[in-house]
Structures are given as C-alpha cells and as structure tokens.
C-alpha cells in the first residue's frame, strides 16, 4: 500500500494555490451553511415559542381542556363543574384552574398594549414561572397585584433595573406590579401578565365558562399518560400530557400557517445557492486542473487515487466552509441573546448536524459530477497541445 501523503500534499497545494477559487469555494459553502443553519434555528425557535406557556408550567404534568381544543392559543372555556369532575377522577393528586385570556394593559403614561393574561390557581399559584427577576411569588398574595414578564415590563416601564410597586391598568382594574418574571417568549411577542385566577376573572370581566384549562398531577404510581386516559374516559374532556400538548400546538402552527412553507423556501434557496455556487466553482476548479490531473494519470497515478485527491479537496473546503458558516450562526445568536425580540433562538446541535449533512450531500454531489469528468476523460488528452 503506497503512502498517500505525497498526493495529499499535491492536492492541498493545488487547492490552496489558486487563492481566489479556494476562498470562493469556502465562502460559498460558508454562506450556504450560515443561511441554512440560521433559518432552521429561527424556524425551530419560532415553533418552540408556540408552546412556551405550556413549557413554563413546570409543576403540572397534565392539561385538561375542551375536547375540540387544537392548540394552546385558542380555547373554549370549561365550567367549574368540570374542575370538580376532574378532581374526582381516580389517580388525580390535585387539579387546579388556569385562565388564559387577552387583556388590554395600560401604563400610567397612557402606553397600552394587548397582553396575555394568565390566571393561576389562587391557593397554589400553579402555573407561575419559576424564575423571578424582581419580587417573588408571595407578591401575588396581595390584592390587585400581578407579575409581569420582561417584555411587558420593558414595554411599559423601560429598561432594567426592574422595580416593583408600579401601577398598571389591566382590563377594568388598576393593579400593582408585584414581581417581574422570566417567562419564555410567546409566539407573538406580547407581554405576559400573571394574576391569581379570581382576580384575573375580574380583570377580563366575569362570564360563564371562563376556565381555560385544568392543570393536574397524577398520584404516585399513576403515569401521566394513564391519568390522561382515565380523565378522557371519565369526563369526556381532552387530557394531554404537557409534552403532547406542546407538540399538538407546534403541529397546529405547522399545518395552519405559512411558516414552514416560508422557511422551507428560504432553506431550499440556501441549499440551491450553496449547491450551485459551490458546485459551479468546484466544477470550474476541476476543469481548469484537468490537464494536471491528466498529467498525473499519464505519470502513473490511477484514476481512483486522483478521485481520492479530489474528494480530499472537497472535504477540506467543506470542513472549513461549514465551520465558518456554523460559527457565524452561533455568533449571531450569541450577540442577540439579550435582545427581547430574538431571545430563545439558538443553534441546536441537531441543526448543526442536519446542516452539516445537507451541505455534505450537496458538496459530494457536486464533487462526484466533477470527478466523473476526470475519470472518463481520455488519458491521451495529455499528449494534445
């Protein structure tokens, strides 16, 4: 077996010798990688945002709702009777109400905005986020007091430091901000306000059937899935684990909005641009080097060894281009992580792998098409002037 280090050296020199083409190839792959990984990250981040309010409820594992509910943002209210039915199902450790509504919030300077109002159980405060940036959960024990998320706070009261005791008009009530919470960003970047269930009802105006969801937990020894099955059988209501409800919500947005199509188009364009530019540049590179590959063939380097050289060249530009592209994406999300509109978007390892796989396939197809020329080329071409 011959050592291939000599041919690898020649391949490397041929690749990097023409700086313009070398950088062109690397940049084409880097650009394509950046566009794909960036757009995929935004896409996945957006879809993840659709279930943010489900994910923020960390102390209940089962959500109960109207049987026709499709996703978290469109609910038909349940009655208090339903809550009692659920509490009566065997295997339920506890069950509490959750109200989800939209209320107009207005600051004392007149600034107003529609806000997502979540009414959590008066006694247990189940559904309140775990992380507080100012104040704490005890503030909600006080009358007419709410917790607000960062987006809402900064919209109504300005940049940090966060303070409590500020006044906010919510629906028909004037309330005090008793705490600032770090809630996950929702799909539509509206402020999120948390109040006790009974007070939230006053804010949006009492009507029959205002209980959006029932949150519950299973007794030890009963799985969340089993509890869902029992609740469905006993009450006729829809019961889902947090995980399932989150995915149902994501799939609802995938099926019923243009998000996947728009992002799919962008990602496909990135793939095509990457394929065309890198494929074209690589093809040109091979074409311009045909006579040198021909000379190597004549000297006694087999076609397979030349294919090995070309694949090595492709893998080098692929590795460098991909690394640059994926680093740019990571840098983008690192620089924007404190931006309220972009928080929560990040480059996931799965996206890095998927992008790497796609770019690899594109570059290898371009390489194989170019390699074919070298393999099928008439070796005697080297003797023609």
């Amino acid at each position: 077996m011959k050592s291939e280090s000599g041919l690898r050296f020649i391949a490397w020199q041929m690749l990097t010798g023409d700086r313009a083409k070398y950088f062109g190839l690397v940049l084409a792959i880097a650009f394509s990688t950046f566009l794909m990984s960036h757009q995929m990250s935004i896409f996945v981040g957006l879809l993840d945002r659709t279930r943010s309010q489900i994910r923020d409820v960390q102390d209940a594992s089962v959500w109960v709702m109207d049987p026709k509910t499709q996703y978290v943002d469109e609910v038909r209210g349940l009655s208090l009777q339903d809550l009692y039915y659920v509490r009566g199902v065997e295997g339920v450790l506890w069950a509490v109400p959750l109200l989800k509504a939209v209320a107009r919030a207005k600051a004392s300077d007149g600034t107003f905005r529609n806000s997502i109002l979540l009414g959590v159980d008066d006694a247990s405060l189940t559904g309140l986020p775990q992380k507080f940036l100012a104040g704490d959960w005890r503030a909600l024990r006080n009358p007419k007091t709410v917790a607000i998320d960062r987006v809402g706070y900064e919209y109504f009261f300005g940049r940090p430091p966060y303070r409590t005791g500020l006044e906010l008009e919510l629906g028909s009530q004037v309330v005090l901000v008793g705490a600032v919470v770090d809630a996950s960003p929702p799909f539509v970047n509206l402020p999120v306000v948390y109040a006790r269930f009974s007070e939230a009802l006053d804010m949006v105006g009492r009507e029959p059937r205002q209980l959006s969801f029932i949150l519950c937990e299973a007794r030890p020894g009963v799985s969340a899935e089993e509890l869902c099955r029992r609740i469905r059988a006993a009450t006729g209501l829809k019961a889902l684990t947090s995980e399932s409800f989150g995915w149902d919500t994501i799939w609802y947005y995938i099926r019923n909005t243009g998000i996947p199509i728009n992002f799919g188009i962008t990602i496909s364009i990135a793939l095509m641009v990457g394929a065309l530019v890198s494929g074209q540049t690589f093809s040109l590179f091979i074409l311009e080097n045909m006579k040198y590959f021909g000379a190597l063939k004549a000297i006694g380097v087999t076609s397979m060894r030349i294919v090995g050289m070309i694949i090595m060249q492709a893998l080098i530009v692929l590795a460098i281009g991909y690394s640059i592209g994926v680093s740019l994406t990571a840098l983008f999300f690192e620089l924007t992580k404190d931006n309220l509109d972009l928080r929560g978007f990040r480059l996931l390892p799965e996206i890095m792998l998927l992008t790497g796989g796609l770019v690899f396939v594109v570059v290898m197809i371009a390489t194989m098409l170019s390699v074919r020329r070298v393999v099928v080329s008439d070796p005697a071409v080297v003797f023609r002037g």
């Binding site: 011959k2 050592s3 291939e4 280090s5 000599g6 041919l7 050296f9 020649i10 020199q13 041929m14 990097t16 010798g17 023409d18 006579k291 040198y292 021909g294 000379a295 190597l296 063939k297 004549a298 000297i299 006694g300 380097v301 087999t302 076609s303 397979m304 060894r305 070796p379 005697a380 080297v382 003797f383 023609r384 002037g385």
Partner: protein, 238 residues
C-alpha cells in the same frame, strides 16, 4: 513475455492498428505500425499533424489500447495489463515530458520535479531533496523554490525533464519538447536532454515535427498516414 528484438529494443511495435469511431465515421489512424526504440538511443518519431503520432505515443505509454498488433515496452505487453497495473508500470518505468510541460502551477519547481516520487509513496522531504539534487544537475538549483509562472520556457522545460528523469526510468517519452520554445532555447534543451537522458540502460522516444532538432536523433522514424514510411539514422548516432 516476448523478448525484445535482438535484446536491445526497449519498445517494439509490430503491425499496430488503431481506429476511432464506427461504421461510416470510422477513422483508421494507425494502419500497421512497425517501430523500434532502442536502449541507449534517441529515437525520433517524425510526422505532420494527423499522421498518428499522438495515438501511437498514447498506445506505447499504455494510455490507449491498440485494436490489432503487438506492442512490447521494456519487454512487457501492455495490452495484457489492467489499468491499475499499467499505471504502476508507467510510474516505475516511464518518464514523460509533455508538450505544454504541464507543471502544476501551485507547486514549486522542486515540488513539481518530485511529483513522480510523491506519487510513488516517498516522504515529501526526501522526495523534494532528491528533486533539488536533480535540478542542481540541470543548473536550476537557484530556481528550485520558484513557481512555474515565474520560470522562463526553457527553465520550465528543464523542470519537466527533472520530473521525467527523477525515478531513473528505462524509457523517456517526450511529446513535442521544443514546440513551446524558441529556436535557440529548443536547441539548448535538446542538448541538455541528450546529455542527461541518454544512457545505455535507457531509451528516449521523441515525438516531433520540428525539423530543426533532427540533428539530435540517433534514429528517425517518419510516420505518414498511419504507417512508418521511412526509418533513417540521424546525426546523433555519428
């Protein structure tokens, strides 16, 4: 394996035929070529464009296979070798000088000269050191680290000679070695080629249509219309 005629012929062609295309477009390029290139001699293959020189050269180099006839190169019937075996045979036994030199632009003169050694699996450092020595013998020591585009035509040809000779091949094939050079430079490189390439253990086959360099030939085979029309002794033999 067939023995070479009288034991001194490095290349023996007998009744070699080669056609391209089929049916009405079939073109018979070689029509029964008989040719010998002997050890210790410079054999010139002379002929106009389209006479079949390049095709014959490609067959002798094992890059094309003949349709009819026999070719033995250094005692080996190349038609019986698979592509990989033929490539290895070329790598070990044949040195090439191409018409346009075909030096790799991104490699220095020394690296270009070392290409056959690198392809044969030599370590880079040793291969380049060997190439430097050979370039020094060719008067190119001071240009060993220069890229081909900074070399003159004559210097590039010397690097091409170094690449062809670095593995001490038994057969050197030169395709139009002076066609890219002016008259004086052409003469100079042919003098150099004769000086460094010719040895009793080596045959040199030069394909050319440049009549100015015929004086360097030991034997001149004129090819015309796909056959060897005439073989004469050249001035080089005197």
């Amino acid at each position: 394996m067939m023995e070479s005629t009288n034991g001194r012929a490095a290349v023996v062609c007998r009744g070699v035929e080669k056609s391209f295309g089929a049916g009405s477009t079939r073109l018979r390029v070689l029509r029964g070529v008989d040719l010998e290139a002997r050890y210790g001699e410079m054999t010139f293959l002379l002929g106009p464009s389209g006479s079949g020189k390049t095709t014959l050269l490609s067959i002798i180099a094992g890059l094309l296979k003949q349709d009819q006839g026999h070719i033995h190169v250094l005692g080996k019937d190349l038609a019986t070798l698979h592509n990989g075996e033929a490539a290895l045979f070329r790598l070990r036994n044949i040195g090439f000088v191409f018409q346009q030199f075909n030096l790799i632009p991104a490699l220095t003169a020394a690296e270009n000269a070392a290409v056959p050694l690198l392809a044969a699996g030599w370590k880079r450092k040793a291969a380049i050191a060997e190439a430097r020595e050979l370039l020094a013998d060719l008067g190119m020591a001071h240009r060993a680290d220069v890229l081909p585009n900074q070399l003159s035509g004559g210097e590039q040809q010397r690097v091409a000679f170094a690449r062809a000779l670095i593995q001490s091949p038994k057969l050197v094939i030169c395709d139009e070695p002076t066609s890219a050079l002016d008259g004086p430079t052409g003469r100079h490189v042919m003098e150099l080629l004769r000086k460094i390439a010719l040895s009793p253990e080596r045959a040199v086959l030069v394909v050319t249509h440049d009549f100015r360099i015929l004086e360097f030939a030991d034997r001149i085979a004129e090819i015309s219309d796909g056959v060897i029309a005439k073989v004469t002794t050249g001035k080089g033999a005197r």
